[in-house]
């Protein structure tokens, strides 16, 4: 029983970082209807900027991390404004290709500027300390990630429900033409969404960086976050979070009871299964466009 509970706890811990990346992806999918493959690198560059602030300029963490989040926000806005918006009448495939292209550019930029050697981000909480709940362990960093994922989900929920910009975002996502007719500046709203999404992803990156930092560090969380978002539903914020936790827990249980060898690919088997049974994901409403 202890093993089972530990596996579930491990799954929740792993799922938290997937959830943060998944949240970012869902935000952009709702705004632009594009699976955003630059999500990981929108976090990667700010994480390395944070590292540079901390290591090269001696900026204290309480200043470096907020500066990094602001940088991430502007990076997201810039990518939407300078690249995505310039695409002429793009279809979904074209948009996906653009995000893959941006991903490669940002990855190349980080590799060129910071090199390929592994390093670790100085962080106020030790990634090697753990909290014991009886015979169960969870690392302090994983606990922080879990709290951050739930907190950000709550903030986004409140933001979309009660703030003017949040409601404008929701309106733009649901019917862009109608929103524009109602006086909402939909392009600006979309740009803001990209900025917020980059910030959310960067939180995940900052919480992963104390373990290992390298140019490819966001690849696996991005894939798993994407898997979680697809399972939960690409248009549902709580769905993305729950989907990510489902992926994390299934991975761990599968590794413990079935095959540790195929633990890392089980997420994608779950995607196939969910897409066959519920194409919109477990928690998203299935919209049918009238023609």
């Amino acid at each position: 029983m202890i093993d089972f509970l530990q596996m579930v706890l491990n799954g929740i811990a792993a799922g938290s970082s997937y959830a943060l990346v998944g949240l970012g992806m869902v935000l952009i999918y709702k705004a632009s209807e594009v699976p955003n493959f630059v999500q990981g690198e929108m976090a990667l560059l700010p994480v390395f900027v944070a590292f540079m602030l901390l290591e090269s300029y001696g900026v204290p963490p309480y200043m470096a991390f907020p500066i990094t989040l602001i940088f991430a926000f502007f990076l997201g806005c810039f990518l939407e404004f300078a690249i995505l918006r310039r695409a002429k009448d793009p279809n979904i495939l074209g948009l996906i290709i653009i995000t893959i292209g941006m991903e490669m550019i940002l990855l190349g930029l980080v590799s060129w500027k910071f090199g390929a050697d592994q390093r670790v981000m100085p962080f106020p909480i030790s990634e090697y300390d753990s909290i014991a709940i009886g015979n169960l362990f969870i690392s302090s960093l994983n606990m922080l990630t879990l709290v951050a994922a739930l907190f950000i989900m709550l903030v986004l929920f409140l933001f979309f429900r009660y703030s003017k910009i949040g409601v404008a975002m929701k309106a733009s996502q649901q019917n862009e033409t109608a929103a524009r007719l109602m006086g909402i500046k939909t392009k600006q709203v979309r740009m803001l969404t990209w900025g917020i999404s980059a910030m959310v992803g960067t939180v995940a990156g900052l919480l992963l960086a104390p373990v290992i930092m390298e140019p490819f560090m966001m690849w696996n969380p991005m894939m798993k976050g994407f898997a979680g978002a697809v399972v939960g539903g690409m248009t549902s914020l709580p769905g993305a979070v729950i989907g990510a936790y489902i992926i994390g827990v299934i991975e761990n249980l599968f590794g413990g009871y079935v095959s540790i060898e195929f633990k890392s690919v089980v997420a994608f088997a779950v995607i196939v299964l969910v897409l066959c049974v519920r194409p919109s994901g477990l928690f998203a409403r299935h919209y049918v466009k009238k023609v």
């Binding site: 811990a13 592994q118 990634e127 362990f137 390298e214 696996n220 540790i260």
Partner: protein
């Protein structure tokens, strides 16, 4: 008509003598140059291993600055394959067919090397020192392929030997990358464990993409392992040890030469790598340092390595380059090739080079002794090169404390 005849005669003359002249020279060799190719990942997930090619480059520049080989400079062509075998094939073909390499040196990655092995061997192009300890390079042996990286099975053997004989540990487990690298380590560990009258208490495969180490730590804990061999990637080693600490699992960690860069590992584990036992294939001499004494790679005691530090690294490495195991390894892998080129003499052909390589016996550069033999398609030993390994323990300040002297580790055939 007369003009036309003259032209035809001139063309024929040029063709005949041109071909004859060309036929007398080996591809990739001119009066003043020898062209050597190499691939390595300068970008992508294995980019930290890109330092191998940069190390080789600095080494060749040092050799050239000292006069080259028999009056010829080495022209080193290396390209970034991103650890992608498709790119390795494209790059090798381009350099071989457009520029013309005399031979190839090093080359990071088993999959990348395997992708071009048949191409190079089919054209009888020498390749020395693939940068991975895979059995594919020697079993079956290839006439033009000379290995010098100790096979991963040897790393596992010495680590199990240290655990069982030196530290008295009996519950040895292994976590291994689910590919050729890891499986060869597993084969070596099993063989040595059997020799010690033990069996491995856990054999846990890991995929390259695995980043969540908690399930692996749980399996190791369940097996009650007192020592764990890690045949996985550098980042995974750091994550596994860190997750072990967080989950209160603290065995004697042991790892292979690929993860033995002590200063780097100490830095990325924030000191948790201290006490880890690593396999070494050179770069310092256990007898010179002394069993129980420590070696600082930033102040090398090995005269050959010290020379590399002064004459290659300081003079030819880029300003931001880090002096470390991977960079120096790039020089070490190329040493036997240089020895072969020297022995082949001024009148250099590939066949003479291969014959010269086969005369190398107990050659000592910065690694252990390297030996080759006459080509025997049934005997991997004629191309294995180096079979000696020693072991050390990493200290908290990123140095190596020598635990075991050079030990001959016999070739293990993978099942």
């Amino acid at each position: 008509m007369k003009k036309k005849s003259l032209s035809i005669a001139a063309i024929m003359f040029l063709l005949v003598f041109g071909l004859a002249l060309n036929g007398s020279a080996e591809q990739g060799v001119t009066d003043t140059e020898i062209h050597i190719g190499q691939w390595s990942p300068q970008t992508g997930p294995a980019a930290p291993w890109g330092a191998v090619a940069r190390g080789t480059d600095a080494y060749f520049k040092m050799i050239n600055a000292e006069g080259g080989i028999h009056g010829r400079k080495i022209i080193h062509h290396y390209f970034d394959d991103g650890y992608n075998p498709a790119k390795t094939v494209a790059g090798v073909k381009q350099l071989q067919e457009d520029v013309g390499m005399f031979g190839w040196v090093s080359g990071v990655g088993t999959a990348c090397g395997l992708a071009v092995k048949d191409y190079l061997m089919g054209r009888k192009i020498p390749w020395v020192g693939p940068s991975s300890g895979s059995s594919h390079w020697v079993d079956p042996p290839q006439k033009y392929l000379f290995n010098d990286y100790p096979l991963y099975s040897g790393d596992a053997q010495i680590l199990v030997k240290v655990a069982a004989e030196k530290l008295g540990l009996k519950r040895i487990a292994i976590t291994y990358q689910n590919d050729d690298y890891g499986k060869l380590g597993l084969a070596g560990a099993r063989k040595q464990a059997a020799k010690e009258g033990l069996s491995l208490v856990a054999e846990i495969p890991m995929n390259v993409a695995d980043t969540d180490m908690a399930p692996f730590v749980m399996e190791l804990k369940k097996a009650n392992a007192d020592s764990v061999l890690m045949f996985i990637g550098v980042g995974q080693v750091a994550r596994l040890i860190g997750t072990g600490k967080a989950m209160k699992f603290d065995p004697r960690w042991m790892t292979t030469t690929t993860c033995a860069d002590a200063p780097l590992m100490i830095a990325i584990t924030k000191g948790l790598f201290a006490g880890t036992i690593v396999a070494n294939f050179g770069l310092f001499e256990p007898q010179v340092v002394g069993i129980g004494n420590t070696e600082d790679v930033n102040n090398p005691s090995h005269p050959v390595v010290k020379k590399y530090y002064e004459d290659a690294f300081k003079k030819f490495a880029a300003k931001e380059e880090r002096w470390g195991l991977t960079f120096v390894a790039g020089m070490a892998y190329a040493e036997p090739m240089l020895e072969g080129l020297k022995r082949a003499g001024r009148d250099l052909t590939r066949e003479k080079f291969v014959a010269a390589m086969e005369t190398i016996k107990d050659f000592k550069g910065s690694m252990g002794r390297v030996s080759y033999g006459s080509f025997d398609p049934n005997d991997p030993h004629c191309r294995v090169g180096q079979t000696e390994i020693f072991a050390s323990e990493v200290t908290a300040d990123g140095k190596y404390k020598v635990l075991m002297d050079w030990t001959e580790m016999p070739y293990v055939k993978i099942d």
